[in-house]
């Protein structure tokens, strides 16, 4: 008997009279439905708690100084995370600049020319890549970039983030391009356009909105990653825009400040977390909604 069916069978102590079984089934029905509603309620609870504490603890420190001031020496109150915020934008920006062209091209390939063993292999490998833990990617980036370069660098961090961004960008692009109706392609081809022009100038623009939004989702998620940056970008207490030197990033700063015993730093960590969450979730949300609408069209 299947598990669910077995679970639903009345136990031995219930009389097998139709009335008793009926009552049993009705009771079970109420319990199961109630349990599902309870589960849904319980699952919403953590979000309320997390966002609640995030806002409660982080909002107080959210002022202009936080965005424009540099960190103070250890133990001194005040200061901000200006260098970390800019550092994150730089590292994520460079990573996106590397990942977007590669990922979108790969996604277009899979959607337009993707029948056959090579394409299946690519899809499978992309799935494999998406499952690699971010700490392992950090270790790999250390070996591939930090050691040969002889120093920690923002660029190494970007390489790690690129690896993390690629699979979702590829998958999203493939999905969006597939959604473009065949009629577009057929019309273009019928009018004598070569295949590449069709893809480049007809299909891609049609899929553009979906690709951009879904890709930015991947970029936003990568912006929140901490583990791969720990031993690639390392960190920097100073203002630095150089990608070939250690650079401050928001997630790593949050980690350092949260672990520290200084109350002022802990407060800044909460504010940093709030900023990070706003950055990541606002983008994710806005884009998810747009993507859904595009998909349902």
């Amino acid at each position: 008997m299947t598990p669910a069916a077995e679970a639903m069978t009345p136990p031995a102590w219930v009389d097998r009279t139709p009335r008793a079984v009926q009552l049993w089934r009705a009771a079970l029905n109420k319990i199961v439905l109630g349990a599902c509603i309870l589960a849904a309620g319980l699952v919403v609870l953590p979000l309320v708690l997390i966002v609640g504490y995030l806002v409660a603890n982080g909002l107080a420190g959210l002022n202009l100084a936080f965005f424009t001031h540099m960190p103070k020496p250890v133990g001194e109150p005040g200061g901000g995370m200006a260098n970390a915020i800019v550092g994150t934008l730089l590292v994520v920006g460079v990573a996106a600049a590397m990942a977007l062209p590669l990922g979108i091209s790969a996604g277009v390939y899979l959607a337009e020319y993707g029948r056959g063993r090579f394409a299946t292999l690519v899809r499978y490998t992309t799935d494999v890549l998406s499952g690699v833990p971010s700490i392992v990617v950090g270790v790999v980036a250390y070996g591939l970039v930090v050691v040969p370069m002889g120093r920690f660098s923002g660029f190494a961090g970007s390489v790690a983030l690129t690896i993390l961004m690629l699979p979702p960008i590829i998958r999203a692009t493939e999905e969006m391009v597939r959604l473009v109706p065949q009629s577009y392609r057929q019309a273009a081809l019928a009018l004598g356009a070569p295949r590449w022009k069709t893809t480049q100038q007809i299909v891609l623009p049609a899929a553009r909105a979906g690709i951009v939004t879904a890709s930015m989702l991947a970029v936003a998620r990568a912006a929140g990653e901490t583990a791969p940056l720990l031993f690639t970008a390392l960190g920097n207490r100073f203002w630095s825009l150089r990608m070939d030197q250690p650079i401050a990033t928001l997630p790593v700063f949050i980690y350092d400040y949260a672990k520290a015993p200084y109350t002022d730093w802990n407060r800044q960590a909460w504010t940093g977390a709030l900023v990070l969450v706003l950055l990541v979730t606002l983008i994710s949300l806005a884009l998810r909604l747009t993507v859904r609408r595009v998909r349902d069209r």
Binding site: G75, A82, L90, R151, F238, P246, P261
Partner: protein
Amino acid sequence: MKATRILAAALIAAALTGCTGGGKAPSVGLTGAGATFPYPIYSKWFEMYHESTGVQINYQSIGSGGGIQQLKAGTVDFGASDAPLNDEKLAEMPHPVLHIPTVAGAVVLAYNLPELTQPLQLTPQALAGIFMGTVKTWNDPAIQAANPGVVLPATAVLAVHRSDGSGTSNIFTTYLSAVSPDWKTKVGANTSVAWPAGVGAKGNEGVTGQVKQTPGSIGYVELAYAKQNSLATAKLQNSSGAFIEPSLASTTAAIRASAQALAADVRAPTVDAAGPDAYPIAALTFILVYEDQKDAAKGKEIANFLHWAIHQGQDEVEALQYARLPAEIVTVDEASIAKLTSGGKPLAAR
């Protein structure tokens, strides 16, 4: 798309121009990593040095083990460690390394027992017992004996140790090995040991944070961290039998007592120092640099900074509860700094 591009460009432009940062443009930048023990004073030094010379020294406190490893890997310009490299480890480094002591600090036992009105007193045996896991509650006879008349709670002792490779751990375990034969055989002394009991936290900051958050806990941290966070520190019984409070004076006394040994080899252990006023767990912390610098410009900056640190920098240390280097050690340091060369040519200090 266009709007996003313009926005991105504007953001980058704003980022490049608009922010209040450290005023001067960086000339040469140095990267260092290592010990969390001296991080409070180093971070003050680097800020002051940057203000006066414009040189950016980016220091990441990843633990003494991290400092040694990254120096070895060549990813940083200097390392910082409270654990000096023994001859074996020194041999493993690709090039000869100089040990430059910069400050002296005390490893204190910070604890979180709000009910106590006066400082806790600990004997070496009780301390070893706590970290071995044999002393499990606060009202254990071993602790009670050193605190006559004090009401100790019956709650569990939560020992906090370092989870990362730590020079502070090295100092602490060297001390425990010196005072407890049991500890010496069962656990030993090093930057990272197999702790028999307690929970691990990363860095001096992590241990301080853990103790601060957890009533009933006790951890070993550098004095500055305990003071900056208003944590109570235990009085430790020294080799003369007196219960000594960790302070500037007791730290200096301990280092002074070991001055002769240090003059011979700066890596000599300074724990369990002789003398009635010496705090038992005091130690020097070191900056590690390669004797021969690949990059002459960077080497010069390092030499300049080190010279500044052991002279002008010493004026700042006492405010943060670190002890100044005794004059004998400063002389030894000056000799070491003079040894710095680049491609064979000596780098003259300021």
